[in-house]
Amino acid sequence: MDAHAYDALVIGAGISGMQAALDLAEKGYQVLVVERQASIGGTMAKLDKTFPTNDCAICITAPKMVELARHPNITLLTSAQVERVAGSVGHFEVTIWRQTTYVDPEKCTGCGDCARACPVEVADTFNGRLSRRKAIYLQFPQAVPAVYTIDYAQCTGCGACDRACGPGAISFLRRSQPLTVTVGSIVVATGFEVLEPTELRREYGYGRFANVLTALQYERLMAASGPTDGHVTRPSDGQAPRSIAWIQCVGSRSTQGGHPYCSKICCMYATKEALITREHAPDTATTIFYMDLRAYGKDFQQYYRRAADHGVRYVRSRPASVSENADQSLMLEYEDTLTGKVASETFDLLVLSTAVVPPPENRRLAQALGIAVDEHGFFVARDALRAPLHATREGIFLAGGAQGPNDIPDCVAQASGAAGLAAIPLSQRQRTAEPVPPAERDVAAEAPRTGVFVCSCGKNIGGFVDVEAVTASARALPEVAFAEACTFACSEDAQRKIRGAIEANGLNRVVVAACSPITHGPVFQQTCAEVGLNAGLFEMANIRNQCSWVHSSEPGPATTKAADLVRMAVARASYVKSLPVQTIEVTPGCLVIGGGAAGMTAAITLAEMGIEVVLVERETVLGGKLNLLGKLAPNDLPASTFREHLVHEVQRRPQIKVFTGTEVGEVSGHVGNFQVTLDGGLGEAITQVQVGTIIVATGFREVDLRGRYGYGDDPRIITQLELERHLRDGTLGKPRSVVMINCAGSLDAANPSCCRIGCSVAVKNARLVHQAAPGTQVFLLYQDLRVYGKGQEEAFTQMLAEVAPQRIRYDAERPPQVSLEHGRIMVTVYDTLLRDELEVEADLVVLTAALRGDGETPRLKQMLKVGANAQDFYHEAHAKIRPLDFTTEGIYLCGGDHYPRSIPDTLAQAAGAASRAAIPLLRGRVKVEPIVAEVEAARCSGCGLCVPHCPYGAMRLDPERGVLVIEEVLCKGCGTCVAACPSGALQQRGFADAQVLAMIETAWEGALV
């Protein structure tokens, strides 16, 4: 048998894998997704909320899960693992092992009858063993695919489930099978797990004391769908804890624990957990024991301050031990290192922020893939600085937790980046074109002839609702031309019957009364489309999830309600219209604004995908910060070498047109068709370009510190950027003492944000200063050392070993003072750990200056109609799951203009932005939402009240005609504007007033006298 050919393979379907798969599929490539678990979703599906926005995790994951499962270009294999990979880039031969779950996914309706019948109860690992489930189970309510799975290791083979299953979905004869496919490129997104400290850090009592949990277990306790319905209770007695402590860095940052790296996310998730705990139960005392609080990201420091203001207590300390009291509360022994007092304190519950560790199977997978893992088992990049997303074998790319700890936005950015890079080897391939909608019957002129199909879902509906009675009441409605009951409406066989009924009875509206339109709507829309009925003509009544399942104790009222729901759907159906699927053509080409590391990388990635790029740089040379830096962490590559490499890669590609010394003048148009003027400065010609998408990569800058820390008063008081120049040019001299002051201009009232890279830059430069002037004593004045993630903590400890700097921790309330006395620079600083003031004479003071976005941002943001914050950093569309998009469709961002970041992070984002920007360009058309708003010009008074309601800037007033115009490509179909229009001139397709009102008015029709 010939191996099935796909374009790309994605391994692992957490947020990273899903994003990578969707990015590739949206470009028109056929993607195979292999997930070892029964459901996709990964770690994010287990979380409650997410920092720093407190977005509900499942609310933002579930739509992606559904989108992935439905995507026509994606094939999903769950409960599967990659066994072997032969061949090479462009033609990998992949052998996959599909573990049977003994349940036919085509037949299972997710009813759960089997689980109720199954006699075997086991600990629920999804819930961190805090609750129990059956041997046949659904991982979690939103699981995708929503198919039950038999946990073979636990199943006794009794067959009770098989007997209970109405559709006959269970078969113990289903075998695990190998499967061979070919793919052109591979993305590895296998994520991470958390350490269960049963071996290490036993002094914290995990596994021994009932009320000691890992933070991931605590997330399940907080989650509304978790084992306690979101009520935080103690496992020992089910009581609400009055006090909770978190211990940070459990296993991480430890030479003993074998996890020397910083796990990067735990400071923030502990902060989140404590904050949300207090929001829910304000009387709960929450205390976080930390060593350095790593609130390094965009808005993280503000989030941390907010938690502190909300009464979350932070104690700088690593507790020594934990013991259990008679009432199973826990006693911690610790030294508050800011007061120097040792204390014993009792807490009702203890949460351990345990190290992020790689899945143990990574090593096996690495062998199969022929790529390298590090000593811990995380996959390693080919070049940690220059190729952060390339695995060590060509054609294989890495994203998200697979490489090390990462938070959600970094995962998503990397996933898009990996998808962009994985598309390069595919650029010669045929892409799946936008599917041609099947020919449709024009039913506009016909009177409604509605067909109703009432599903009993085995016993799930039929057991509580009288399906026959509901069908009969539907049949009695005047518009209804046909009504029938069916056992499993979504089964292949029932679909055939529905199609037959539509044709035989000339039906022009279809109502299926079954489960949720969110999960099953598209299935039936497809069925209708096959016989020429537009998706807009289909309606669904949710008589399972929102009726039989929730009223199972009241069959009478449940039946009445089901009949009502069907009547409402039928009423609405009478007003529905076909929803035209519109697309607009896309002008090829992408504009990249900014020629630093980010802009150049984005341009190169796009060009390699075969896309034309216009790269605009304001300065006369390309390179951005690379022109100013010395050697680059993590591997001391000279910045100039890297700059030359990038410039060469840009220049050798005919697809990239570079405009240096050029500014962007004006921008008009929308996704697919932007008109841009480029201004070469005085005397230079103005160039007009037309592009389909735009990437903004305008970088960041140091704030002006003049007047602070003596900056500007003496040439020996400089910033890190100036130090970089000395190091590069060899002009450092031989200072005996170099005092670095971190957070200069950051973390204070005027600028509460953390610069994200300052600490690691200081660590690098302490080492480089020591190399350049070996006798130098380096003093590092810091607040928290924010060297996070894989590699940075290690670089920090290496620096400690080599340089042995004096580290002095200061507080924002008492910042260091720099003074000039008779030509000598004196720095005084209050050491919070020593609780004494120290005075140092400095030969050189280096300020780690706060960073902010480019000065042109205010002008650019107006022009592009995008947002930016007070520090001139741009607002991404969604802080968690759309870090590279603007809300304005067709415009993307990457690099330092989003927030300062290291070069590897910048490159990942840049490849990601290229991937995003390539989607409309490769598709050639952008689809217009079918449910957009529309204006009835005659009724529009031109008041403009609706305009500010649109979050997407899709509306504007036409000044000539004095009426509103909607840019349909930009409209996302929320309908907010429609409700805002005082003249009733706006309507939303698919949700027109008449359609919604038809339901409202019939809801209680039977009751009206």
Partner: protein
């Protein structure tokens, strides 16, 4: 007015000696306090172990006059738990050795007069001698 302690950038001889004798690199310490909180005798100490390390690193005066390292019984609890793998017990020993080698036996030992000496287990006596004499 607060008086500040002047710290210099010159050689820190005591630190060098301690590092040589203990084989420990004190820069590695994160000042996390694990050692201090777990020490069974922290209450009796006039400088907690982590503070002692910071004093040594900064070269602050008066370290050798402190009692902390005499109070340390070498139980290794701190060394066993330090996340940075520092053997603090060795640092304590190094300080004792420096004092003993420079200034002779520890006064506590030489002043010893007690009736029940004979009843004490030999290991107590020998250990005490070893830790308190050169």
């Amino acid at each position: 007015m607060t008086t500040s302690i002047r710290i210099g950038s010159g050689r820190n001889e005591l630190l060098q000696k301690v590092e040589a004798l203990s084989g420990q690199h004190l820069a590695n310490c994160y000042q996390c306090g694990t050692c201090a909180a777990g020490c069974p005798f922290h209450q009796a100490m006039d400088l907690l172990p982590d503070a002692l390390i910071q004093h040594l690193r900064l070269g602050l005066p008066g370290i050798l006059e402190r009692q902390t390292f005499w109070i340390c019984a070498g139980c290794d609890t701190c060394s066993d738990r330090c996340p940075r793998g520092l053997d603090i017990a060795r640092i304590m020993e190094a300080l004792r050795q420096i004092c003993l080698r420079e200034g002779g036996d520890h006064p506590a030992l030489t002043q010893l007069e007690r009736a029940d000496l004979g009843a004490l287990p030999p290991i107590a006596l020998v250990a005490s001698m070893r830790r308190n004499s050169g």
